[in-house]
């Protein structure tokens, strides 16, 4: 079993000729991912690190004779909705949206279309996802030589609203010898394609994952949704959460960090979220360095019931 990507996953990069896209294409190729093509309107015939560039997804599908499994979308905010619709309508079923500052209505439209077509969106405003030792989609972890320092294969699934903190947490888990099963930068916007609760069933079904670590922030109802999911589904996976931005509770009405941190009600505050997560049996770490021990404690407690302790 694996989550979202495996050895055979193929994907494309939309907006491949942009500065950041060129970098992430190089990084993904170096890490062993299979990129079958890229799209930038008007740039057909070019190559980016050996990857052929097309004017459209349809053209790419025709030329390569295959529909890619996924797409990494890194086009400017004003063009993102069109690019994502294009990918989904061409049959792509996993769309990673890197772009940030996309208006929320556009995001709602993209997510609604994905739901209608049976596609999944990760992001927007994310760095993508990685299956350590197998492949990565997006800039997550940076250049391949840096990726290996932070991401070694292991037993802990990571989901994070912050791209940078995905790597910080994974690096800590790797240094502690626990390693990472799959890490997903889910995005920092108020509406995102896949929330913690929506990704949990994938981790549940993944043999390699024994525990979950999440990074969360003030704003939104995503943590409450996860807490409810955990209680309802009696998850086999212990979860450890880290909550950043606690200081924001002292400054109502101000927004820091990601667009998604806008607090629109009392249930969105850090204090309220911590209470809800803890009520669902989710451990909330004070600092990142505590996370490996908290994970071990939880795995240890479950070992007698058939769980597996990973040292």
């Amino acid at each position: 079993m694996s989550i979202l990507i495996d050895e055979s996953t193929t994907f494309i990069v939309q907006g491949i000729t942009g500065r950041e896209a060129v970098n992430l294409t190089r990084e993904c190729l170096d890490y062993g991912s299979t990129i079958i093509g890229g799209v930038t309107p008007g740039r057909r015939g070019r190559e980016v690190h050996g990857v052929p560039v097309f004017d459209s997804v349809a053209q790419l599908v025709e030329a390569t004779g295959q529909v890619p499994d996924g797409s990494v979308v890194t086009v400017p905010p004003a063009f993102t909705r069109d690019a994502v619709f294009e990918a989904i309508e061409a049959g792509v079923r996993l769309v990673v949206i890197v772009t940030e500052r996309i208006p929320r209505y556009d995001v709602a439209q993209m997510v609604e279309l994905a739901n209608l077509r049976g596609a999944r969106i990760i992001g927007p405003n994310c760095l993508g996802l990685i299956r350590p030792g197998v492949g990565k989609m997006g800039g997550i972890g940076g250049p391949a030589r840096d990726v290996v320092k932070a991401y070694q294969p292991g037993s802990v699934g990571v989901m994070s609203r912050s791209g940078g903190m995905t790597t910080e947490i994974s690096s800590t888990l790797t240094a502690a010898g626990l390693g990472v099963s799959t890490a997903i930068s889910i995005g920092g916007d108020p509406i995102i394609g896949s929330t913690y609760a929506e990704l949990m069933p994938l981790f549940e079904a993944d043999d390699q994952s024994e525990a979950i670590v999440i990074y969360s922030e003030p704003g939104g109802r995503m943590e409450a949704e996860l807490a409810a999911w955990v209680i309802e589904n009696r998850s086999r996976l212990p979860i450890v959460a880290f909550m950043a931005g606690r200081f924001m509770d002292e400054m109502p009405g101000m927004s820091f960090g990601h667009a998604g941190t806008i607090v629109e009600g009392k249930a969105d505050t850090a204090a309220e979220k911590i209470a809800r997560l803890e009520a669902a049996g989710i451990a909330v770490a004070q600092e990142i360095a505590e996370i490996p021990d908290l994970v071990r404690e939880r795995l240890g407690g479950r070992a007698g019931a058939g769980g597996q302790v990973v040292a």
Partner: protein, 432 residues
């Protein structure tokens, strides 16, 4: 970005939602003129971006133009939550038979916009939701399919309304949904939406918020309303320090070095990225430190951009040292940031090794970065030193950082009313 009521009313007009006759006045004389045009009893309302206007004395009624002018004079001079009013709104006083609530917001869990309707309008909708949930109707609507009136009708019908009320309210709520979609709103509410004694419906107050990310494409509307590009409409006005931070970020498109917020501590922060900054700011406070600022660097800024932000922080009065810290970086380069912060120190005549309390940025190009830090004798940390530990080191190196964090104080601690409460409810109940 929140709109003033007089702006929200103009947006309602664009969608042909009926509103009470009104005008916006900057002076008592203008207010009197509007009252004369209305030719009957009026209400005078302070134009501030805050709730609780009624309680604060920012809403008054007048039967004559003279009385209106006198009230306008008082209200124009009255600060509410630290805000000087942006003029007053003078509106015809409605002959109210019944009050309703009509709103559209996002449901972040379902990821769709949703109607919220109640036949108990004029009061805080959250209170209604708690005490009389059966008087609230809700319903999502599609962002992909064409807009359909039946979605609005279903939401209204949930409250038990039927007959002419239902058929007359449906197009109004439907128009509010169109407006929400067309103008990239995150909140569009009419409270109260009023049935007049003749059976017609009219909006008596409106509250709209537009998403900041959509401001570029809503330029036409914003220009028409006279909303300046530099108007942030945040909970408190930006300070000169914050405006300069914004300028540094905007003049150089390479990466991010901005989102600066000013505090009054002695430890300057050059931190990043989005989540890393939130984590590090908490960590500094956890160890009893007093930050001079919040900021975010990321997305691989240029050396000069990192240097300019660092200079801004270094020159802030009261800053003793700075801490340069980030979560493990992927595309921002350690060596580039190291060059930027050292350059800032050198150009201002400081010894980087003395001024930079700690440098903790592991990740991309760290080997190259550490060479630079070695050369200048800086104390730096690799990824084996946690973000919290780095924050502790920084706090220990500045004075007065041992007895617990002081309460956070920005430069203008006055305006504390959040501008973006969900379903913030009406400011006042108008009498029929």
């Amino acid at each position: 970005m929140r709109f003033f009521e007089y702006e929200s009313r103009r947006i309602l007009e664009r969608e042909r939602i009926p509103i009470t006759q009104s005008g916006h006045a900057e002076t008592p004389e203008e207010a009197r003129k509007i009252a004369e045009d209305v030719g009957g009893p009026v209400v005078i309302k302070s134009q501030v971006l805050a709730g609780g206007r009624m309680k604060a004395g920012g809403v008054k009624f007048a039967d004559t133009p003279e009385e209106c002018e006198a009230h306008a004079r008082d209200i124009l001079a009255l600060e509410i939550n630290g805000q000087v009013p942006r003029g007053v709104l003078v509106a015809a006083k409605a002959q109210i038979a019944h009050e309703y609530y009509a709103g559209v917001i996002y449901d972040g869990v379902r990821k769709l916009p949703t109607f919220v309707f109640s036949d108990m309008g004029g009061i805080d909708i959250e209170e209604v939701a708690e005490t009389h949930p059966d008087h609230i109707g809700r319903g999502h609507f599609s962002t992909v399919l064409p807009p359909m009136d039946f979605r609005a009708k279903d939401a209204i019908a949930q409250t038990g309304l039927t007959g002419r009320e239902l058929t007359r309210l449906t197009p109004i709520l439907s128009a509010l949904a169109r407006l929400f979609a067309t103008y990239d709103m995150t909140l569009a509410e009419i409270n109260p939406l009023v049935k007049l004694e003749d059976g017609s419906f009219v909006a008596v107050d409106a509250h709209m918020e537009m998403e900041n990310e959509a401001r570029p494409r809503q330029k036409a509307l914003l220009t028409e309303l006279g909303v300046g590009e530099d108007e942030t409409r945040e909970a408190r006005e930006a300070t000169p320090f914050e405006i300069e931070g914004e300028r540094i970020d905007s003049v150089d498109h390479r990466g991010v070095a901005g989102n600066v917020t000013e505090f009054d501590g002695n430890l300057g922060l050059v931190i990043g990225a989005g989540g890393g900054s939130l984590t590090l700011f908490d960590a500094v406070r956890h160890h009893g430190g007093n930050p001079a600022n919040y900021c975010e660097i990321g997305g691989n800024p240029s050396v000069s951009k990192a240097a300019n932000l660092t200079k801004l922080v270094l020159q802030k009065p009261g800053v003793e040292k700075i801490a340069v810290m980030m979560s493990t970086v992927s595309n921002t380069r350690v060596d580039i940031v190291a060059r930027g912060v050292i350059k800032a120190c050198v150009e201002l005549g400081f010894d980087p090794a003395e001024k930079i309390a700690v440098f903790r940025i592991p990740g991309a190009w760290e080997e190259e970065g550490f060479k630079i830090l070695d050369r200048y004798g800086l104390e730096y940390a690799d990824r084996s030193v946690s973000m919290h530990e780095a924050a502790r080191i920084a706090v220990e190196k500045v004075s007065g950082g041992s007895d617990g964090a002081a309460p956070l104080r920005g430069e203008e601690p006055g305006a504390e009313k959040p501008p973006t409460e969900r379903l913030s409810g009406a400011d006042e109940v108008l009498e029929g």
